[in-house]
Symmetry: C2
Subunit: 106 residues, 2 copies
């Protein structure tokens, strides 16, 4: 499945919807001999995946903003759909400014 572009595209789109995000576009590429890179663009930033089927490894980024979108729901769905035997999750806060948090204005 890490080499199945259509499956991964559906997976990321589903994850975006599950998180409450608004999908605005997508772009996916299949590499030779194997591997898929893809981005689902959302109004609240993006969800990306890069796979290395030869290593049974995938790197996923769920970049969201605002209080209405829950990136963990997206991450969880992707992890489940991929049937990951193990995964690690890192949360990074972006754009924190003194005394206030940047909110997505769009």
């Amino acid at each position: 499945m890490l080499d199945d572009l259509d499956f991964l595209k559906d997976c990321l789109n589903e994850a975006a919807i599950r998180s409450g995000a608004t999908v605005v576009g997508e772009s996916f590429y299949h590499f030779s001999p194997c591997g898929v890179s893809g981005v689902v663009h959302i109004a609240e930033s993006h969800i990306s995946i890069h796979t290395w089927p030869e290593y049974k490894y995938a790197a996923v980024d769920v970049f969201t903003c605002g209080d209405d979108v829950d990136p963990e729901k997206a991450a969880r769905l992707i992890t489940e759909r991929l049937g990951a035997q193990s995964h690690s999750l890192i949360e990074l806060r972006r754009g924190i400014m003194e005394d206030s948090q940047v909110e997505c204005a769009r």
Copy 2:
């Protein structure tokens, strides 16, 4: 410039080339009332940008793999082109496995 889609597209493409990456595609969006989201797809993963002109803030991700690509060169170029008065840079290692580092097979 944080609201100038064409400028940002050129900027990220130039950054990709500067870092030694191979560009395979791009997708950029302009939001209303303002703001740009864009991804330059590279064989070695991706470079993305999300801008909040109303906050004079941009979030850039430079995701690369392999020894031939230098993500810092891309980050530096983008920071310079945007004329950032301040910036913060965080480096995250992805996909490190026990006793070996994942190399990009493509």
